[in-house]
């Protein structure tokens, strides 16, 4: 059975677990780096990116997660998770995992009072997807190999590069599991190809 890990240092990880389980896959909350060996794909949830980065450093997660991705195992970052995956962050912030060829801007839509929900079309995955944006980042630019999956108001809010998936909104806060299903399929695929 496919096991999806959800990085459980801080943030909305229980909601991701619920969403993964709703697609029929098994979910595991990952709090220690040794647990990366027990999973086929990893979701980095929404939360506070600064806080998560500090805890990632504290528990030596940075390099193990990088290696996990470089082995070809899929990663899915939502909101803060997207920031952690990015290769370039607008402003003076350090790059975190740097696995995905995207440039992001933090808190790009403004403060909490500007947070919103809107219906989006996610290319080949979901039409009319109820996307919840909370102090969300957006993607300012993508590399050649990165496919734009969704935009809002002219800004990129979802993208995929091979086995890396990222979005600036929170699919785990609604009962629409189509984007999570897409990630679970990515993990199933990679499991098959990595088995050869």
């Amino acid at each position: 059975m496919t096991t999806i890990g959800v990085l459980g240092l801080q943030g909305a990880f229980r909601e991701h677990v619920r969403s993964v389980e709703a697609t029929g896959a098994k979910a595991l909350v990952v709090k220690k780096k040794e647990q990366l060996e027990d999973i086929d794909g990893l979701i980095i949830p929404g939360g506070e990116s600064t806080t998560m980065r500090r805890l990632i450093d504290k528990y030596d997660f940075l390099e193990p997660i990088r290696q996990f991705g470089k082995q070809g195992k899929p990663l899915f970052g939502t909101c803060a998770g997207l920031i952690l995956l990015a290769s370039e962050i607008d402003g003076s912030y350090d790059v975190h995992l740097g696995l995905m060829d995207i440039k992001v801007r933090r808190n790009a839509f403004g403060r909490q009072r500007e947070s919103f929900e809107a219906d989006l079309d996610i290319k080949d995955i979901a039409d009319g997807f109820n996307a919840v944006f909370i102090r969300a980042p957006y993607i300012e630019g993508v590399g050649e190999d990165t496919e734009v999956l969704a935009t809002y108001d002219g800004h990129i809010v979802a993208a995929q590069q091979d086995h890396y998936l990222a979005c600036s909104f929170h699919p785990e806060l609604t009962d629409d599991h189509r984007l999570t299903s897409h990630f679970v399929e990515m993990v199933d695929q990679s499991k098959k190809s990595l088995a050869f």
Binding site: G8, A12, G47, T51, A80, R111, R113, F116, V132
Partner: protein, 294 residues
Amino acid sequence: MSQTGTDRVKRGMAEMQKGGVIMDVVNAEQAKIAEEAGAVAVMALERVPADIRAAGGVARMADPTIVEEVMNAVSIPVMAKARIGHITEARVLEAMGVDYIDESEVLTPADEIYHIKKDDYTVPFVCGCRNLGEATRRIREGASMLRTKGEPGTGNIVEAVSHMRQVQSQIRHLRGLSEDEVMVYAKENGAPFDLLMEIREEGRLPVVNFAAGGIATPADAALMMQLGADGVFVGSGIFKSNNPEKFARAIVEATTHYDDYKLIGELSKGLGTAMKGMEMSTLTADQRMQDRSQ
């Protein structure tokens, strides 16, 4: 079509704070220490609760200069407190762009009967509660997040423990009630019937519930997580300790790994003195902040 200020957006913001520590700060320098230590948000105040207690008099919303200074200093969300029922203080904080408002019994109430009708606002609110009645009334008024009241500024965890246990135990009790019994329970607790039915079905509150009011050590924070808190607020505990940087880091780590006792033991070594703390029986009735609202 996009919509701001929906329940999902306001409650979702609190969901992102789960498993984290929200720290009281009184200036930019403390806010940076908090952010650096891994706080998920800061609460901008003129004085921490222990100092409010010591100063006496009327405690009001902080000077907007302090709130602005803190907002400019950090990229994590900034919360601020408004007096209970003070519609204008809340509107001012909303207009300033504060990310969350705490309608708080730590400040002197502006209204002894009515709370703010919080669902009229785009900015989300957090409120204190001691039991399921208070919790559900605040949610119906529009609170997007709850916290225990505890007894602020005392460094004594006993009241926060009691409030967290009370809410949890009432939820468990509610689950065993039949529908006709829920109506009587609603009447007895002054709780909205439909919301009780929803909580009975789901087995949990529809918003996150943090611990607050008396957390002074890493072990206190871990205890509250163990009892089912979604995260913790630390008020006076950090910047009233001897070594705020170290203390702040230790509390963040103990909250993440609340069931790793060996680690909490390590974290608690050589932290220096925690804030002094107060015994509940030494407080007179008018010193009990938790009794300022129902």
